[in-house]
């Protein structure tokens, strides 16, 4: 091979690299390992972690993932393919993405879904960019202090560097967006769009009646951010009259994996379709009249529009949309509703029993919530979480020294809940 290349050594292939730039030493890294050693290494590392019964949520939920999902997503034909640039040999990928888009459209009540967002935080940031771009001269974006703080942080980063004015409307004593203030800020004008959460960070379902009309009256757009699974039971973005639905789809069959990878979803009305970032699959026919699928609306994308693209997104979060598609196929409408019902009933049972211990109270007792709620912990959040951890329980997510956010899914049994209640009762 070297002879064919006209060089007499591998180094000869780098004759064009100036000497001063060449690495004159070996990497300072460990020696190579056999598979067994690699496995042993990670087994040892894994033992330094503690997997606990999980009552933590805050955007990422421990749901049951049927075994078939991992069997399908491990198929090499799916796993080792790239973005389906050649539709003739990529119908598998294109086909499941089309199914995913169809399912997300049904869940969100929107016309169109992309397949490209990394997670919920960046999906919200992309929704913000999309709304900003839909106004010829841009405009302010309004959002709520009841959004997930990690989502807000990412939106703030993107807004700061891109030069978007992002205004955060404060929350009320009932843990909800100050809706009167939000509506008056919308009416003040210059607003390109509004992003609100449902349920919000505290698990509370807010009432968005009249919000889409208020937005549309001043030509602003409305985006509603929800964890995907909950859309099976809560009023969807489409039903609220929103223009965009966004959020994290981890709750559709994806493991927690210490935070990633997951999948962000972004759906919109047909009117905004051409402002949508990322990959979209469309149906068409081939020469033989077969129904086939292709990447479509590509002229919006970075590889063609360069600096004029709506977004720089290249990913097509393919494999994660496959998790979601297989999960939703197995669950069906009724299965997904049942998953939510178990979480909701479990959460209300647990909140009731925790409050009965006398060491904690429901922080927002008059606000309707789904499968997640905030407790005010009289002995302090740290004391509670430490006592729970001693029992092998992740007791929730700390909001501050006195407040903890607790989530329930179909995964925690009544026994698990009663153990957590015993922990709460033991606090003084």
């Amino acid at each position: 091979m070297l002879g064919t290349c006209g060089v007499d050594s591998l180094d000869g292939l780098y004759a064009d690299v100036p000497d001063g730039l060449r690495l004159a030493r070996h990497y300072s890294l460990p020696d190579e390992m056999s598979e067994k050693e690699v496995r042993d290494f990670f087994d040892a590392l894994g033992r330094k972690n503690r997997v606990m019964t999980c009552f933590a949520g805050a955007g990422y939920y421990h749901h049951y993932a049927p075994s078939l999902i991992s069997a399908i997503v491990s198929r090499s034909e799916f796993l080792t393919a790239y973005t389906p640039y050649q539709p003739e040999i990529s119908q598998g990928t294109l086909h499941y993405i089309f199914e995913y888009q169809s399912m997300m459209s049904s869940l969100t009540g929107m016309d169109v879904s992309n397949a490209s967002m990394y997670d919920g935080t960046t999906a919200a940031a992309e929704a913000m960019l999309m709304m900003n771009a839909s106004m010829r001269k841009g405009g302010r974006i309004l959002t709520s202090a009841t959004m997930n703080p990690r989502t807000l942080a990412v939106m703030q980063t993107y807004a700061h560097f891109h030069g978007i004015e992002l205004e955060i409307i404060p929350s009320t004593a009932s843990g909800m967006t100050d809706m009167a203030l939000l509506k008056s800020r919308i009416a003040a004008g210059g607003v390109a769009g509004v992003v609100v959460p449902s349920p919000n960070y505290y698990g509370i379902l807010e009432d968005f009646s009249g919000l889409s009309d208020a937005c549309h009256a001043v030509k602003a757009l409305l985006a509603v951010d929800s964890p995907a699974s909950a859309l099976a039971v809560i009023k969807s973005a489409g039903e609220w009259g929103a223009d965009i639905a966004c959020g994290d789809a981890q709750s559709l069959g994806m493991p927690l994996s210490y935070g990633g990878p997951t999948l962000g979803y972004l759906c919109s009305t047909k009117a905004l379709m051409r402002k949508m970032p990322g990959r979209i699959v469309g149906a068409t026919v081939d020469r033989d009249g077969q129904r086939v699928f292709v990447l479509t609306l590509q002229a919006r994308e970075q590889h063609i529009r360069r600096e004029k693209a709506t977004s720089n997104i290249c990913s097509n979060q393919g494999l994660m949309t496959l998790y979601a598609a297989v999960y939703m196929s197995l669950m069906g409408s009724r299965g997904l509703e049942e998953v939510n019902r178990r979480g909701i009933e479990g959460a209300h049972y647990l909140a009731d029993r925790l409050a009965a211990t006398g060491t904690m109270t429901l922080t927002y007792p008059d606000s309707p919530y789904l499968n997640e709620f905030v407790m005010t912990v009289r002995p302090g959040t740290d004391a509670y979480l430490t006592a729970a951890a001693a029992q092998g329980i992740l007791g929730g997510v700390k909001i501050d020294g006195r407040h903890v956010l607790i989530a329930v899914t179909e995964m925690q049994t009544r026994t698990d809940m009663d153990r957590l209640v015993a922990v709460a009762a033991s606090l003084v």
């Binding site: 051409r274 590509q298 002229a299 919006r300 063609i304 529009r305 004029k308």
Partner: protein
């Protein structure tokens, strides 16, 4: 003397009194290939000479549209929304926007038909 003027970026303006019909040239339509979408302003929007007023897309290309005139859009050609292929069929008959001029033509910078023909030779 022709009543049509051009930009180097291949937009034309056909002038009829105080009205300009703005579209892309046959040459540009040929270069772009099958047009799949035309992004155009709404009635009442202002356009300015040399500034972007929309975009035109084919399957694998997209280009911005620049206005050869300054004025107010009195009619976007909505027939192109459902049938963008019209641009390929006859780009001159199928203008993109109809503009009421608010400023005189920028004759110093606009190309005449002869100059444009020279450009694309």
């Amino acid at each position: 003397m022709s009543n049509t003027y051009y930009l180097q970026s291949h937009e034309y303006a056909r002038i009829d009194g105080n009205i300009a019909y703005v579209g892309i040239t046959k040459y540009a339509a040929g270069q772009l290939g099958n047009v799949v979408y035309v992004d155009m302003p709404e009635e009442g929007d202002d356009v300015a000479f040399g500034e972007e007023f929309g975009a035109i897309e084919s399957v694998k290309a997209a280009s911005d549209l620049f206005s050869p005139v300054t004025g107010t859009v009195i009619e976007p050609n909505t027939a192109l929304v459902d049938n963008p292929r019209l641009v390929n069929e006859d780009p001159e008959a199928n203008w993109i926007i109809k503009v009421e001029l608010t400023e005189p033509l920028n004759l110093e910078e606009l190309l005449t038909e002869e100059q444009y023909k020279e450009l694309i030779k």
